[in-house]
């Protein structure tokens, strides 16, 4: 454990977590007896081959799914103990998602897309607008507020996706292959932006990626292989 890690609280605690999906009569163990700790302010890359359980782990961390066994706490909240309604409110307060394919609503402008998470808050319309505008400016899109997703490049759309993820100031950013659909240059810009959010604002980021280049930009990388943590890159 480094000196820097010593001073920061453990934000995510995964202890003995397993996830089993049932397909017909067959049980598929996607995650097995997984232990993991993520500290506040970490920028963690999760790597591994397809089917290794990266996205499943990300879903569990984001409260989109529940573990079959084990303990999973984020910021002290045990995911498994929350009702669906509480879990939705918890996600709104603590989690910002960044998706590989951006997943913007095509019928909404950039600023309206960013405003979506704020609809769940008691903020007034003008406050929502000013927060959304600030988030878009932060990702360098202050000049693209009224543009629709189809009018933006892939890199710009992903920036809108990041602005949407950070606008409600969540505890953790969960990024699922955020550069997977971008060219190298745009991908580098997005990674720089994530690094900036991590370093300047102390955002905790957990990023799933296939790309070793992307993982090098993270502060820490762990590998998943067949549902278990591995110290080295699987073959």
């Amino acid at each position: 454990m480094s000196a820097a890690e010593n001073g920061r609280e453990v934000l995510v605690r995964v202890k003995g977590v397993g996830k089993v999906y049932r397909r017909g009569s067959e049980d598929i163990h996607v995650l097995r007896d997984l232990d993991l700790e993520v500290r506040a302010g970490d920028f963690l890359a999760l790597m591994g081959p397809s089917g290794s359980g990266k996205s499943t782990l990300l879903n569990l961390l984001g409260g989109l799914d529940r573990p079959t066994e084990g303990i999973l706490t984020v910021g002290g909240d045990s995911i498994a103990d929350l009702t669906p309604r509480e879990l939705a409110a918890w996600r709104a307060r603590h989690i910002g998602f960044v998706f590989q394919l951006y997943n913007l609503l095509p019928t909404l402008t950039a600023i309206a897309n960013v405003e979506l998470p704020l609809l769940l808050t008691p903020l007034s319309k003008s406050e929502r607008r000013s927060h959304s505008e600030a988030a878009l400016k932060m990702v360098g899109l202050g000049h693209r507020l009224k543009h629709y997703p189809r009018q933006l490049s892939g890199g710009e759309q992903q920036r809108v996706g990041i602005a949407r993820a950070i606008v409600a100031d969540p505890t953790i950013l969960l990024c699922d292959e955020p550069t997977g659909d971008l060219d190298r240059k745009s991908g580098d810009e997005i990674l720089s932006l994530l690094q900036e959010l991590n370093r300047a604002q102390g955002k905790t980021i957990i990023m799933v990626t296939h790309d070793p280049h992307a993982s090098h930009r993270a502060g820490r990388t762990i590998y998943l292989n067949k549902g278990q943590i591995s110290d080295t890159m699987p073959e």
């Binding site: 989109l64 997943n103 019928t107």
Partner: protein
């Protein structure tokens, strides 16, 4: 309201599909308004008429005449406040297409019995002083451009004059208004005394009596007394009933228009329900990932249910209210048949029912897709991406 722009933007996603669905709903509600007005035209007056007026006609049919001397005997029955006689004139003004009802009545008391027809005292006096005078309703006067003082020729189809002439001529001495827009103002009233003296045959015979009772509570007892009074009468036995029952029976002679129209509307709305339901189901199927994203960022299951239902209600509401609105505007222009439907209005109760159907249609069309969206597993929806 903060979700409205989200709901609205979703509706605009597939503009052609939304437009076609909106058009279907719009046409359905326009049709609803029109058919409600037609149904009201056939049966609407019935609801206005209570039990305070009775109709006494020949027991065999309304086409059989009764002697006018019955009038004084009816007047003597306790509880009877007033009695007038009516006879169908059935004349043609210029062309059979120009149909409007002409009724021969007792000029001295007709407007006391039919107080919903408003005519000035001066015009009533003029009618009493003019033997060939008539009072016409405002809608008919407006339709033909008639004014007080005009002389109008009417071709009789039943009541010929001595010598075989069918040509009658009357002077308009008054124009009556209905007390509200649902009151028929298309009729023309002819004086009985002039009519009886001038016609060739059936003198002293009338079509039916209208009996106004002092207390509607006693209507059924008075009905029994009238019919008992003329039982076994060689001049004709009578059949009495409330005006409401009479009008309903009359309406039934031309078929149960209400039931036919309700059947048509039910088929129309069922089809529209399928169209709108299909639109919503498709919209939800196409947006599984987006709904998954909304849930991922914190929308609850109930919130997603509300969004989809809201979308369905807005879809139905925009089409429905536009259709109802245009129906109100068109129906306000009046009878499109120029006389066949004198009371052609869109009753407020039917407008309210239309609003209810609009919202109900939205809820029904959206409920299954909304439940589907609510149950959507967010992890599975995002895995499809």
């Amino acid at each position: 309201m903060k979700y409205f722009s989200l709901i609205w933007s979703n509706l605009l996603r597939k503009k052609l599909r939304t437009t076609l669905t909106l058009l279907s709903i719009f046409i359905a509600f326009l049709l609803y308004g029109y058919l409600a007005a037609i149904r009201g035209a056939f049966a609407g007056n019935i609801s206005m008429q209570g039990a305070e007026r009775l109709i006494t006609r020949h027991k065999v049919s309304i086409a059989q005449l009764l002697p006018i001397r019955y009038r004084s005997r009816i007047a003597q029955i306790p509880g009877v406040k007033n009695t007038v006689t009516c006879t169908w004139f059935g004349g043609i003004y210029q062309h059979p297409y120009n149909f409007f009802p002409q009724i021969v009545v007792n000029q001295e008391s007709y407007f006391d019995v039919y107080s919903e027809f408003k005519v000035s005292e001066k015009e009533r006096q003029a009618w009493l002083n003019t033997r060939d005078g008539v009072i016409v309703g405002r809608s008919t006067a407006r339709r033909f451009g008639w004014k007080i003082g005009d002389r109008i020729p009417i071709q009789a189809t039943i009541w010929i004059k001595p010598g075989g002439s069918q040509a009658w001529e009357f002077e308009i001495v008054g124009i009556y208004d209905g007390q509200d827009k649902e009151t028929d103002s298309s009729q023309m009233f002819i004086r009985y005394d002039y009519f009886d003296e001038t016609r060739l045959f059936a003198k002293g015979q009338i079509g039916w009596f209208v009996v106004k009772v002092a207390d509607p509570q006693n209507s059924f007892s008075i009905i029994r007394q009238i019919d008992t009074e003329f039982a076994n009468s060689s001049a004709g036995e009578t059949k009495s009933e409330t005006e409401k029952a009479f009008a309903q029976a009359f309406a039934k002679q031309i078929g149960d228009i209400g039931k036919i129209l309700i059947a048509i509307l039910s088929a129309v709305f069922f089809t529209i329900l399928l169209v709108a339901g299909n639109t919503m189901a498709q919209a939800v199927r196409e947006r599984r990932e987006e709904l998954g994203v909304l849930k991922a960022i914190g929308f609850t299951n109930a919130g997603v249910l509300g969004l989809v239902l809201g979308e369905s209600i807005v879809l139905s509401g925009v089409g429905g209210f536009a259709g109802l609105g245009l129906a109100i505007i068109i129906i306000a222009q009046g009878d499109p048949t120029h006389g066949a439907l004198p009371v052609f209005v869109f009753p407020a109760s039917d407008v309210l029912l239309g609003v209810g159907i609009t919202i109900g249609l939205g809820l029904l069309a959206g409920i299954f897709p909304a439940l589907q969206a609510m149950r959507l597993n967010v992890a599975e929806a995002l895995r499809r991406m």
